[in-house]
């Protein structure tokens, strides 16, 4: 079984649950930006939660199937069509041999997850099928899809059509958005007033928002606490001696536009960070469109862990419902 890529969409990549273990040499985890939607799509078609799917951002691909398969589309609200017949999202449907899966315009969210029964069967590289485009690693030839690509699909009979994930178990894209953040790392580098304004301001998702990181603009510049720059850091007050960047960390180069690093994060660098978006909210970032008004909400470790437990309950609920 294979899928012929007729049109690739804007930036469609193969992703699974990611490639942990190589961040110490600069290879990020990659994997679906919205993991809950990725797992749900897989379970809807009868795959394991971590099988490889397609992640399509803003604009869906056009895919011709060479054999029958069960398909589900989750995440962004981007209506799938089979030979121009619209299908429901978050619901399994059949695509027959020779039929074409295409997509209508994006209505909400940013990234659709397209699961196919059997999973996208590209080679496993360093333990994962995820694409890391910057390093030309994994996925389909280490890059986003192009017209003419032929995607291998694994064997799997697929679940029945019409399986649907209840609304209560879907996390809707936020508009406006709130991202919960634990302050820390180099928080002490900015003044108390700047710290307060950082959380008060409404930021906007900038056009430079991708799998590496999401940039935000329209907030007030941060003022720094004066200091002599440490040896090796560089002269700008936002510079530090190059250090590791946590996933979700919020760096603010020049004190102007925060960048939240995501699954394809650069693993380190020389910009100070004010804190880290909590693990439970990473999925939400993957569904933010440019210009979305966004606030950062200060939380404690206890609140972060409670949110993490809530997310896990949702994931367990999805698995229980679709098992």
């Amino acid at each position: 079984m294979a899928i012929n890529v007729l049109k690739p969409g804007l930036s469609t990549t193969v992703q699974d649950l990611g490639r942990p273990g190589y961040y110490h040499i600069g290879i990020p985890t990659s994997g679906g930006m919205d993991m809950l939607s990725l797992a749900a799509a897989n379970l809807l078609v009868g795959n394991a939660a971590g099988d490889a799917v397609l992640e399509a951002v803003f604009l869906g691909p056009e895919l011709e199937f060479t054999a029958d398969a069960t398909v589900a589309v989750t995440g962004a609200d981007m209506p799938p069509k089979v030979d121009d017949q619209e299908q429901a999202t978050w619901t399994s449907f059949k695509v027959r041999k020779g039929q074409v899966l295409s997509f209508g315009f994006l209505k909400a969210g940013a990234r659709a997850y397209i699961a196919v029964s059997g999973g996208i069967d590209v080679p496993v590289v360093l333990g994962s099928r995820s694409t890391y485009t910057l390093g030309a690693l994994g996925g389909f030839k280490g890059r986003k899809l192009e017209a003419g690509d032929v995607l291998p699909v694994g064997a799997g009979k697929g679940a029945a059509e019409g399986r649907c994930l209840p609304e209560a178990l879907r996390r809707k894209p936020q508009m406006p958005a709130e991202l919960r953040m634990l302050p820390g790392l180099y928080w002490h580098r900015i003044t108390e007033g700047a710290g307060a304004r950082f959380f008060e301001d409404t930021w906007k998702v900038a056009p430079e928002a991708d799998r590496i990181g999401y940039r935000f603009k329209a907030g007030q510049p941060l003022e720094f606490v004066a200091r002599d720059q440490p040896f090796g850091a560089g002269s700008d007050p936002s510079n530090i001696v190059d250090a590791c960047y946590p996933y979700g960390s919020v760096q603010v180069p020049g004190g102007t536009e925060p960048i939240v690093l995501h699954r394809d994060a650069v693993s380190g660098g020389g910009y100070f960070m004010v804190g880290t978006v909590i693990s439970a909210d990473m999925d939400l970032i993957g569904q933010l469109q440019p210009h979305t008004p966004t606030r950062f909400v200060k939380v404690t470790m206890q609140e972060a862990l409670a949110a993490r437990a809530d997310r896990k309950r949702v994931l367990d609920g999805i698995a229980a419902t679709l098992s």
């Binding site: 090796g232 590791c244 380190g268």
Partner: protein
């Protein structure tokens, strides 16, 4: 040197060994991360050493954040007495300084640079009181460099110049980062050199280019068949200045799968280095040159 601990969200702990860069700060981080690896604590998922800091990723469903923090602080206390000796290797990296490709890229992004009228190498030579491009190349390639971090992108080494502080080359990063840097550019920011392993964005000054691949996701380069990234923290690098002719020859040899880098095992002692920098470097170079 005061160690500073901070949580990076609910999955990371960030440990700054020192605000300033020094080999002492690197070794402190290395001894703690080595002890942490040996301790095999359940729930630790990634250990990432950096220049003067390190980061630990953990699963808070397996080990509570406060418990993880307590484990690290205990390891720091135990690591104080760790020996500062490293069994490592010296790698010779050929560099075509002042090459046409980084020059062209530098000119394309000139309005983002501190000195739009000169080149990165001329500018850095001037602000470091070096005698032009030739004086710069001599200073840059004269002593070995220590790989104190691997990261940013896949396999990119950050390198610390093994000379006393007054002789260390320093430069600011570009005013605004470039959106393009040639693959295998030898760059510099703050006190660190780097080799860009892939083409992409970057903010470091650009001094030259190496014909020697350091990252190969397809693992067809003979010396990258075992693993796709060449460098690891603790490696020592010696730059070898080459001209256009040797650059082109080496690229052809690399493409044909025939070229191998010069690499030799070497023992590095921080204590010896602190006592006698030039003497220690001379012994390291002997290891490379087979005397």
């Amino acid at each position: 040197m005061t160690t500073r601990y901070s949580f990076g969200g609910d999955e990371h702990i960030f440990v700054e060994c020192d605000e300033s860069m020094s080999l002492e700060a690197f070794f402190k981080g290395m001894s703690i991360t080595t002890a942490l690896r040996d301790a095999r604590i359940r729930g630790v998922t990634e250990i990432c050493p950096a220049n003067a800091s390190f980061q630990v990723r953990f699963d808070p469903d397996v080990i509570a954040p406060d418990a993880m923090m307590a484990e690290l602080k205990a390891l720091e206390a135990a690591a104080q007495s760790a020996p500062s000796t490293l069994e490592t290797r010296i790698i010779e990296v050929p560099v075509f300084y002042n090459d046409p490709w980084t020059y062209e890229t530098g000119q394309r992004f000139r309005e983002r640079h501190q000195d739009p009228t000169s080149t990165d190498i001329e500018y850095t030579a001037r602000i470091n009181n070096l005698d032009g491009v030739d004086g710069f190349i001599k200073a840059h390639s004269g002593a070995p460099w220590f790989v104190s971090m691997v990261g940013f992108v896949a396999g990119l080494p950050f390198l610390y110049q093994m000379v006393d502080r007054p002789r260390q080359i320093q430069s600011p990063k570009y005013l605004r980062p470039r959106t393009d840097t040639p693959r295998l550019t030898v760059g510099h920011g703050g006190c660190f050199a780097c080799i860009y392993s892939v083409r992409g964005a970057g903010g470091y000054q650009m001094f030259g280019i190496t014909p020697m691949p350091i990252y190969d996701p397809n693992q067809t380069v003979p010396y990258l068949r075992d693993f796709m990234c060449l460098f690891k923290p603790g490696d020592i690098v010696k730059w070898k200045p080459i001209g256009r002719e040797e650059y082109d020859q080496t690229v052809a040899e690399v493409d044909a799968g025939r070229w191998m880098p010069r690499i030799a095992p070497v023992t590095f002692s921080l204590t010896d280095f602190q006592a006698d920098i030039d003497g220690t470097n001379a012994r390291i170079m002997e290891a490379l040159n087979g005397h």
